[in-house]
């Protein structure tokens, strides 16, 4: 299988009043075509911000400050080569080298996104059908007239709004789009789709809403479906139905799914390969069996140790003793960010461990000194190493120290 997406050393930062928050700190991932790739981590680990960085929706005061996002898209590469030669490498295009306008155009046909909370992800005052048709329509217009951005908003704008805005929908949507919206609703298993298309979001149940959102994400026939905590807000039984739906759709269309969740059960059930994130970094990645059966990183081990049965979908991440560290830049240093909670912390861990392949599998890597040495090869850190203020080394990441950083991260999409 070939890679669809190669993320290299991605950095996303939030410039808040408390200081600079390194929400995503050097993340690298490869997502292969046709697979389900899982990203797992606690809230505030940077997994959602990573997803938002892909689709260029990191909001102020956040910004992607470094790295590369290579997307395999031969057409786009051919189109881009002339204007932005640096951003093209064979059939791959570095999205971060593209202008905003082009990146916006990728939302829909390249990236479809499903957010966590279905109830608030649809506009309460437009019908579900209209909102899906809108997603179809914008793609139709873009395909019909790829060069002109204007054509995509034609029939809608401030003047139009002031004159005839009280009448919803007229002037923007075409009949074809509305028909297609009904088909999409049918495809995601909504009974009586023509009828339900005319209803408003508040008339839908949570599970139905999430189906509608999936339909909306499918409207642009995306190459990659980003599902950001798609089941978190739902009942357990509904969760299973939505996961089944995603699996079915993937089997049907062969699309690639990037599944972001804090639920290990969901990962185990859905994913081919997986990346574990902690404090803005990918701490371990590999195939599902490598990571789940032969975890190297003590954080992964801790997570897995806390769920007895991988098949139980309802299980949530059990917090390991301690807190996710503050991601404030001023409080970050070179050490392993997990060292204050790690039962195997050693002196060697005080220097940033690089990501290294874990022994045994080329595709399995972890950001931990244990890939190269055994516990005890370096003097273990005393328990109170980080608890002791006089140490001067790093009081960070303890208890409430982390509030500022995590608060911001949550607000800006850390755990959606």
């Amino acid at each position: 299988m070939t890679d669809l997406l190669r993320v290299r050393d991605l950095q996303t930062r939030f410039f808040t009043q408390e200081g600079q928050v390194n929400a995503v700190e050097g993340v690298s991932l490869d997502v292969r075509e046709g697979e389900v790739f899982g990203v797992v981590g606690e809230s505030g680990s940077g997994k959602s911000v990573t997803a938002l960085s892909l689709i260029d929706l990191v909001e102020n005061p956040g910004r992607v400050t470094g790295g590369e996002i290579w997307l395999r898209d031969a057409d786009l590469a051919a189109e881009t080569r002339e204007d932005h030669p640096d951003a093209v490498d064979g059939t791959f295009v570095d999205l971060l080298g593209l202008p905003d306008r082009v990146r916006r155009g990728l939302r829909g046909p390249t990236f479809g996104t499903v957010f966590q909370d279905p109830a608030s992800s649809l506009n309460p005052s437009l019908t579900v059908g209209e909102q899906i048709a809108e997603a179809v329509e914008v793609q139709r217009r873009a395909d019909a007239n790829p060069r002109s951005v204007r054509s995509r908003t034609q029939g809608y704008g401030l003047a139009k709004f002031l004159v005839g805005g009280a009448v919803p929908g007229r002037g923007y949507l075409s009949e074809e789009s509305e028909t297609r919206a009904v088909e999409l609703l049918e495809q995601v298993g909504i009974p009586d789709p023509a009828e339900r298309a005319t209803e408003y979001p508040h008339e839908y149940s949570g599970g139905m809403l999430q189906r509608a959102l999936i339909a909306q994400a499918l409207a642009g026939e995306p190459d990659l479906l980003i599902a950001d905590e798609p089941t978190t807000a739902l009942d357990v039984t509904i969760q299973a139905q939505i996961l089944d739906l995603l699996a079915d759709l993937q089997a049907e269309t062969g699309m690639t799914i990037l599944l972001i969740t804090h639920n290990l059960g969901v990962i185990a059930r859905m994913c081919d390969r997986v990346a574990v994130m902690y404090a803005g970094e990918v701490v371990e990645r590999g195939t599902l069996s490598d990571v789940f059966e032969r975890p190297v990183h003590p954080y992964t081990q801790g997570l897995l140790g806390s769920i007895p049965d991988l098949d139980s979908a309802g299980e949530r991440l059990q917090p390991i003793a301690g807190n996710v560290p503050s991601l404030l830049d001023a409080e970050m240093d070179d050490r392993c960010y997990f060292a204050d909670r790690c039962p195997k912390a050693m002196e060697a861990c005080l220097e940033d461990p690089d990501e290294r392949a874990a022994a045994g599998s080329a595709d399995h890597a972890a950001r931990c000194v244990l890939t190269a040495m055994d516990y005890g090869d370096s003097p273990p850190l005393p328990d109170d190493h980080f608890g002791n203020g006089s140490d001067g080394d790093s009081p960070e990441g303890r208890g409430t120290d982390g509030n500022g950083g995590r608060g911001t991260d949550d607000r800006t999409g850390g755990d959606r």
Partner: protein, 343 residues
């Protein structure tokens, strides 16, 4: 509930309120000092003449009889006779009504056309000069008495630069339209139909005269709507559905206007509904500043001479318009927000 039934129900409620209004207006005369006869009879009138005038006007009958007759008259469209002007009160009031409606509509158009874009710009360019400018404007705008603003506009635009007239309304909007369509208004039609030139000229004169009054009355609402739109847009733009709309590839124009602004306007309309009284009160005082011949100037002059039929008629027309406007706002609100089931 359907829109029709909703309007019916609000209509019935409205009629009850109007009845209350009429009753209060009727009672006003009884709780006001001064004998209405004094304003009609000559100063040296004999008691006999005074008694006859009172009898003629029905003022010596019991209050409930007068009330019943008053109501019955209103139902026939009879609002009484103004002896001071020698005209039916309803004729006087309805002749004045277009001027007030023109003023209120022009001011609302000014307010909506300026305020909504200004509020959106302010919200989408937060902490930029445009935002600070709009915020300052809206703060000062809601704090400025409009009669003073009108006087300052006259001072600058009319007295200093002679750009606009200081007062008066020589032509009405309908007269301008009368050049295009043959309609009868307040007497025989003055122009042959379909005279485009005359239409443009008359309309120009009308616009020239209504500009300052409309700006005067409209500024408070422009400021208020700007403020509400700004804060509403900021709220809406922070909601997840906005991100979701962007994520499905919608251009920013659609995200802002089709999604965020729509939802912003729902609370804006609620507040505007509460502010309708300010619009009408503001119209009264704006008319006074610009000698605009509408209901406001009529009411004030009638109060000064105690012309009771006119006082009552103009109060009733103002009260009824207010009730009608409120129903219109409710219907608009319900049509924008699907969660309101016309309830």
């Amino acid at each position: 509930m359907s829109l029709g039934r909703f309007l019916l129900r609000r209509g019935v409620q409205g009629i009850l309120v109007v009845w209350g209004v009429v009753t209060v207006v009727f009672l006003l005369r009884f709780i006001s000092p001064g004998d209405p006869v004094n304003f009609i009879a000559p100063l040296d009138a004999s008691p006999e003449l005074r008694r006859r005038i009172a009898e003629e006007l029905g003022l010596n009958r019991p209050m409930y009889v007068q009330y019943a007759e008053y109501l019955a008259g209103l139902l026939r469209g009879d609002m009484g006779f103004s002896f001071l002007r020698g005209q039916e009160a309803s004729a006087v009031v309805f002749a004045r009504l277009p001027a007030t409606i023109e003023l209120a509509v022009a001011a609302s158009v000014v307010a909506v056309v300026i305020a909504i874009p200004l509020g959106v710009i302010s919200a989408t360019r937060r902490h930029q000069p445009a935002d600070y400018g709009a915020t300052l404007f809206s703060l000062v705008g809601i704090s400025t008495p409009n009669f003073w603003l009108g006087i300052m506009l006259i001072l600058v635009a009319a007295v200093q630069f002679n750009l606009f007239p200081t007062s008066q309304r020589p032509v009405g909007f309908l007269e301008a339209v009368g050049h295009l369509v043959a309609i009868e208004f307040a007497g025989p039609s003055v122009a042959a139909p379909l005279d485009v030139r005359a239409f443009a000229d008359t309309l120009g004169t009308w616009l020239w005269h209504i500009t300052l009054p409309a700006l005067t009355l409209g500024t408070y609402f422009t400021a208020l709507i700007t403020r509400l739109t700004r804060s509403g847009m900021l709220d809406e733009l922070g909601k997840p559905y906005v991100d979701a709309a962007r994520a499905k590839g919608l251009p920013e124009t659609l995200v802002r206007y089709r999604h965020a602004l729509r939802n912003t306007l729902i609370p804006v309309i609620t507040v505007l509904g509460l502010q309708l009284g300010t619009l009408i009160g503001g119209a009264v005082i704006t008319e006074a500043v610009f000698a605009w011949p509408g209901l406001g100037t009529l009411l004030i002059s009638s109060i000064n001479v105690r012309d009771w039929p006119l006082i009552q008629a103009s109060l009733i027309v103002i009260g009824v318009s207010f009730v009608l406007l409120n129903i219109a706002v409710d219907a608009l609100y319900a049509s924008l927000d699907p969660r309101v089931d016309y309830e």
